[in-house]
């Protein structure tokens, strides 16, 4: 296998030294984590590496030498570098060399032991892969690969080589604590040497968050204890609580706040993202609420809205009356049964008159839907009688049955009457169901909007927009300028997660506002005249 050397881009301009990193034999890759500069004392270097190995459970070792000099290295330097191989025995020993100001690199691999089988020509090629250490340190691969064996050096061969690289860099934070500018026994160069500054405000906020979380968590537990007391479980308060969407939303937000201010630290990154998304969602909620409130109160818009509502209700009632007058005449040229038409029309006109007085929206339509439902059931059973069959309740099927003559006579008569009255009722039913569907659709849209705002993972989306390397779907490679005879050089970059997958992975759990029935069941219910309440929450009782 080709030997892959992962080299951090921050170490490209640094002075000569030793390469410190981890060797993964299963994938034949050397992950270089830092460069250790001259002068050093070998004993101190070995002590430092042993400490890092202990603390981070990563098998760091000296992998080879790094030479960055003005022109071709002199003989003495070459021999000195080779001699270092005896001080820090490592198999294989890498020797990377770069000319100052030049673009091409040279790389030699020395195997101490003779290879067991004669290798094919070109077997011992080296590939240099440059990676941005800070980005790889902070990024997180999706889907997260769990590396089961955390012991120093042991990695199962089935896990991808790249996941191992990411894992190695992420776990080697201990190595990155000391820098070449620190006054220590060893001088290391890594991503910290680039001088990226942290923000003091972030650090202060981090220190202050502990006691603040403790205080708020105790307050919230008090509030939930009050809310869970027996008084709220009795009717009518429980009925009110389940009907009002404000109470639902409050309960939902209380759960969120308890999650945010819990004093337990997030165990893995998924929980951390969840917490962060919840914070962003709560803040968005508060911000939207305050904006809406300020907009409504500015220039007394509430008064204007209230004034506009009553004429709108009157207008709707007038339109409905016109609709009923139209149905009572000859709607769309259809000939209706005059008597039934008049009865139904007057019945609904009276209801609308009541509605104008009492603003009650649903009941006239519901009564009529029940009427239609009864009619359909009556028709179906009389149709069975017409054919000489009946419904066997015990066996839940249709059986043949011999009826008496007078039973047959009355049944046939009733069947004929109902059948010829069907178009009239069906037309009324159609009109009112369409109106009711419109209202239900509007309600459903509002619920969907609320659900969307509640479950949008704002923090993750913001992170994907501003720091795309944090959420990685994978990596991508670019071949850098190469020359025949020199090792191949590749640049490894983070491939960010697409927005659809960010939404899918980090969606907050919604509060259950989605339709229970599928489209087919809905159509079936509509045809048979059953009542539909598609936006009921799970656990609500049926009407």
């Amino acid at each position: 296998m080709v030997l892959k050397a992962f080299f951090p881009t921050c170490c490209v301009p640094v002075d000569s030294g030793l390469l410190v990193g981890r060797w993964v034999p299963e994938h034949s890759s050397a992950v270089v984590l830092a460069v250790l500069h001259f002068p050093f004392i070998p004993i101190q270097v070995k002590q430092l590496l042993a400490q890092v190995r202990q603390a981070s459970q990563v098998g760091v070792a000296v992998l080879g030498t790094w030479c960055h000099c003005r022109q071709e290295p002199e003989e003495s330097l070459g021999r000195f570098l080779e001699g270092l191989g005896a001080v820090f025995p490592h198999e294989p020993w890498l020797q990377l060399c770069r000319e100052r100001g030049g673009t091409f690199w040279s790389c030699e691999v020395t195997h101490r032991q003779a290879p067991a089988a004669p290798s094919a020509p070109g077997e011992d090629q080296v590939m240099l892969i440059f990676y941005d250490q800070r980005q790889v340190l902070l990024s997180q691969l999706h889907p997260p690969t769990v590396l089961p064996d955390r012991q120093a050096g042991a990695t199962p061969a089935s896990t991808g080589g790249l996941a191992v690289v990411f894992d190695t860099v992420a776990r080697s934070e201990v190595l990155f604590r000391s820098d070449r500018f620190d006054e220590g026994p060893v001088r290391l160069s890594h991503w910290q040497s680039e001088g990226v500054e942290a923000s003091i405000l972030v650090e202060l906020a981090r220190r202050a968050s502990g006691p603040v979380c403790l205080l708020l968590a105790s307050l919230l537990s008090l509030v939930s204890a009050v809310g869970a007391c027996r008084v709220f479980r009795l009717w009518p308060l429980s009925f009110l609580g389940s009907k009002l969407s404000t109470c639902e939303q409050l309960r939902h937000r209380l759960e969120h706040l308890t999650l945010i201010f819990s004093t337990r630290k997030a165990e893995n990154s998924a929980q951390l993202m969840r917490k962060a998304n919840t914070v962003a969602s709560v803040l968005l909620d508060v911000a939207l609420g305050l904006t809406l409130l300020s907009w409504l109160h500015g220039r007394s818009r509430i008064g204007h809205l209230a004034d506009a509502l009553v004429p709108v209700a009157d207008h709707v009632a007038e339109e409905l009356q016109h609709l009923l007058q139209w149905l009572m005449g000859a709607p769309a040229g259809l000939k209706m049964n005059r008597a039934l038409d008049q009865v139904l029309g007057r019945f609904f006109l009276y209801h609308i008159h009541l509605w104008i007085s009492y603003i009650h929206l649903m009941s006239p339509f519901v009564e009529h839907i029940r009427l239609y439902c009864l009619k359909i059931h009556g028709l179906s059973s009389l149709w069975r009688l017409f054919r000489g069959k009946k419904w066997n309740v015990l066996r839940q099927r249709v059986d043949s049955c011999s009826y008496d003559l007078d039973q047959l006579f009355i049944g046939t008569l009733l069947f004929t009457i109902l059948l010829f009255l069907l178009p009239t009722t069906a037309l009324y039913y159609l009109v009112f169901t369409l109106l009711r569907l419109l209202v239900v659709a509007v309600q459903g849209l509002i619920h969907l909007l609320v659900d969307l705002i509640n479950s949008l993972p704002l923090y993750s989306l913001g992170l994907r927009l501003c720091r795309p390397y944090r959420l990685a779907a994978g990596v991508k490679f670019r071949v850098l300028q190469n020359e025949a005879g020199r090792p191949l050089r590749l640049l490894m970059q983070i491939n960010p997660l697409p927005y659809s997958r960010v939404m899918h992975t980090y969606r907050l759990p919604s509060c259950g506002w989605h339709p229970k029935d599928s489209w087919g069941a809905l159509c079936r219910k509509l045809f048979f005249g059953e009542l539909i309440y598609p936006w009921r929450q799970r656990g609500d009782k049926q009407d």
């Binding site: 034949s28 089935s158 991808g160 080589g161 490679f477 071949v479």
Partner: protein, 187 residues
Amino acid sequence: MEDERSFSDICGGRLALQRRYYSPSCREFCLSCPRLSLRSLTAVTCTVWLAAYGLFTLCENSMILSAAIFITLLGLLGYLHFVKIDQETLLIIDSLGIQMTSSYASGKESTTFIEMGKVKDIVINEAIYMKVIYYLCILLKDPVEPHRISQVVPVFQPQVTPEVMGDREDRQQVFGVPYEQAKTQAR
């Protein structure tokens, strides 16, 4: 080392396949697709605007004309950004993996990298699209059961699949290496 050959795609447009050889362990295949033709663009724009003008004469509402302009612009931008592929590249790096890049006409690049450990095999598959076409695809291993195949990834998009006629050897020679050697190199 570079090498170029011409093909035609399944709809008849001209394609150019470039093969680059960076090192013994790294090869790149670059497929350039036919550009957006001015003729089809003009035809579509004229149709949309004539239809909008017809509606305008019926309805006497000038919003229709503005809407037609917006729709044409947005449609063109959407087509260039999401549909029209300029170039597809396949980079094979020995013992690391296979990378497929699609660059769209608007400059967007979408890259997928498949690690060598996940690749079960590279095969030439047949599909029926009004006639039989052959396309290269990568079989991926199932993470749970290593003997099963979890996914079949076609190497080039259907719009730019080169039409390779001829017998089996010809088809295998499209990518420069015979089928058996492609398997060994990918290991």
